[in-house]
């Protein structure tokens, strides 16, 4: 048996969050390594569709010691540009990344941790989990009951409409992913039916500014996790209905309706080869419109106080989401009308390798703003980890700053404890 390599800290994952953490640990001279199953920005390289662009403007992906310096701050990165941005960051900060290294097991070992990989083991005093929130597509329990004649695809597998058979497509889920895929698949000549459950409608631009600019400036993105009314809920909300595009269009349901996309309620089950959709579409849309208007109210209030009124476009409200009087609640899946089902129903993280008892009964990682209750264990890069901004690349800087300080404090405390233990043993 070969011995394990030592490091003070091991970061799992070389995406934006892991790299930001690496930079912050380096600033504190904490020796560490970043283990990456593939390459830097791996999921951006391998698990995203071709046309996807970041939902946030170029100026916004600020990382510790690194920011956009191009001539299109308000544009939206393509996947190639996003990958290049993160690769360049890894180079600039000289992150100690070990690529093509898959972690198979993380467990307690003495006062620290052992991290087993397919390329040897590591011993460390602290572990930072930065493997992301989108490891495994989360499908409904009845997904296997789809008739075998239908093709099915998750957003991780989806690349472009040409990959799909000609014919109708049922896109399940109306988050950023579901609405973007619905739009391009429908435009490719494959008629789309979109199953709509809970979703968050926001306009791309409001009063002449990007919605992300507003949420950044008005402090919405800094709403702290420990002030959330229902933290579990805000952490599991779907992504905003946004797309990054040159024409800055909104991809809400009214836009998709104009293209000819058809809407049904949440995909609730399959019975006798028929898809059953919830009869709650109207309320789902009402909730979303109300939520959007509360956000716009907050923005208007801030703009007024910031003295922007008069300098920019006046406040206005968007047309409520149009809903058919009687959307279909039943669809024969054997009729040939639908050829493909796209499950845009969200993701869950994969913690199957984590052999430390820190998961709850639903296999979610229990943490307090990124601090896991097992000493020396941290997580970064999850939605609403410490604030709403944590869901964005732009949120990693503040989160990494806090967690690296906490980690350093933990190491110092551990050292102090070790010294006092040694001192007391001498006595």
């Amino acid at each position: 048996m070969t011995g394990a390599t030592q490091a003070t800290a091991v970061i799992l994952g070389a995406g934006h969050a892991g790299l930001a953490m690496s930079r912050c640990l380096a600033d504190r001279s904490i020796d560490h390594v970043v283990l990456e199953r593939g390459e830097v920005a791996n999921s951006w390289k391998k698990e995203r569709w071709d046309s996807l662009r970041l939902l946030t403007p170029n100026w916004q992906s600020r990382l510790p010691g690194y920011r956009y310096e191009g001539d299109d701050p308000d544009g939206f990165r393509t996947m190639a540009e996003t990958i290049r941005y993160l690769e360049r960051y890894a180079e600039v900060i000289d992150a100690p990344v070990r690529t093509q290294t898959t972690v198979t097991c993380v467990s307690r070992r003495g006062e620290g941790y052992e991290v087993k990989t397919d390329r040897g083991a590591w011993r460390c005093r602290a572990v930072v989990i930065a493997t992301g929130a989108c490891s495994i597509p989360r499908l409904p329990g009845f997904a296997d009951a789809l008739p075998p004649c239908l093709d099915r695809v998750t957003p991780q597998q989806y690349r472009n409409p040409d990959q799909l058979a000609p014919g109708g497509v049922l896109v399940v889920g109306a988050s950023a992913t579901g609405t973007q895929i619905a739009e391009e698949v429908h435009r490719s000549g494959r008629p789309v039916t979109l199953a709509v459950g809970e979703h968050i409608r926001v306009p791309r631009t409001y009063r002449g500014r990007d919605i992300e600019w507003w949420m950044d400036a008005a402090g919405v993105l800094d709403d702290p996790y420990d002030a959330a009314d229902n933290l579990e809920r805000v952490r599991s909300l779907p992504s905003l209905q946004l797309a990054g595009s040159d024409d800055r269009r909104s991809v809400d349901l009214n836009h998709l309706r104009e293209l000819g996309v058809r809407f049904v309620g949440r995909f609730a089950g399959i019975r006798d080869g028929h898809a059953l959709f919830a009869g709650s579409l109207r309320n789902m849309c009402a909730l979303s419109d109300l939520k959007m208007n509360r956000l716009l109210d907050r923005i208007d209030e801030w703009a007024l106080q910031a003295g922007l009124d008069g300098q920019i476009d006046p406040p206005h409200r968007f047309e409520p989401t149009r809903v058919d009087a009687s959307p279909p609640i039943d669809m024969d899946l054997d009729s040939g009308e639908i050829r493909t089902v796209v499950w845009a129903t969200g993701y869950r993280p994969d913690y199957s390798w984590l052999k430390v008892p820190v998961l709850d009964r639903k296999a979610r990682l229990v943490h307090d703003g990124g601090v896991v209750r097992e000493p020396g264990l941290y997580v970064i890069g999850l939605p609403y980890l410490r604030r709403l901004r944590s869901s964005l690349i732009d949120g990693a800087a503040a989160d990494a700053a806090f967690l690296s300080a906490h980690l350093a404090g933990y190491l110092d405390g551990q050292k102090a404890t070790d010294q006092s233990a040694r001192a007391s043993m001498k006595v």
């Binding site: 309620g265 949440r266 609730a268 089950g269 019975r271 059953l276 919830a278 009869g279 709650s280 309320n283 009402a286 909730l287 109300l290 208007n293 509360r294 009087a325 009687s326 009964r361």
Partner: protein, 186 residues
């Protein structure tokens, strides 16, 4: 009119509900409830349901008294009209569930209700239950609920309360989503 000095009281003990939420999130097994009703045929299309016991919080529970509910069909169905039609009782169940939600959500949002009235309508094509046209379903074509609410709140706040009550309503869920039903002969 300002009622800012008066505490909001819709008669809902929100603190107890929030405590229960907190307690049950830590003890999910106690959150497992079973609701029951029994129904006896009286005569013709007239039947009487009795509701008293249920299971929850890990043990058998009882209402303070047994509630009975007569159901029948109207005279246009050649029945004796000894009670509401079962589909009307479904509407009443939906209305009561949503209205309880309205009161609870309003209390939680510190909004004083003065009056709440729901009016429900549901279309039905009798060609379904009479077996005239197999393309017509037995049940409702759709349900429309209209709320008339007087409260110390803006229209948007009231709309948000009504939307939230749908989101948290058991009967709304039962009606808008499929449910497996198993009927056996003992």
């Amino acid at each position: 009119m300002s009622t800012a000095t008066q505490p909001v009281d819709n008669g809902v003990n929100v603190a107890a509900l929030l405590d229960a939420r907190e307690a049950l999130s830590k003890a999910p097994e106690a959150a497992q409830f079973t609701w029951r009703a029994s129904c006896e045929w009286v005569n013709g299309t007239h039947s009487r349901s009795t509701i008293q016991g249920f299971f929850g919080l890990g043990e058998e529970q009882r209402h303070k008294q047994a509630f009975t509910l007569d159901a029948d069909h109207p005279e246009v169905f050649a029945s004796e009209d000894n009670g509401a039609t079962p589909v009307e009782i479904v509407l009443a169940g939906l209305a009561s569930c949503l209205t309880a939600g309205v009161a609870s959500v309003a209390q939680n949002r510190n909004i004083q209700l003065k009056s709440v009235k729901a009016t429900l309508e549901a279309g039905m094509d009798l060609q379904g239950i009479l077996g005239i046209d197999s393309d017509v379903r037995n049940g409702f074509q759709g349900i429309k609920v209209t709320y008339d609410i007087d409260a110390d709140a803006t229209k948007e706040e009231i709309e948000a309360i009504v939307a939230q009550s749908q989101k948290r309503s058991a009967v709304y869920d039962v009606i808008t989503n499929p449910t497996n039903v198993t009927v056996v002969v003992a």
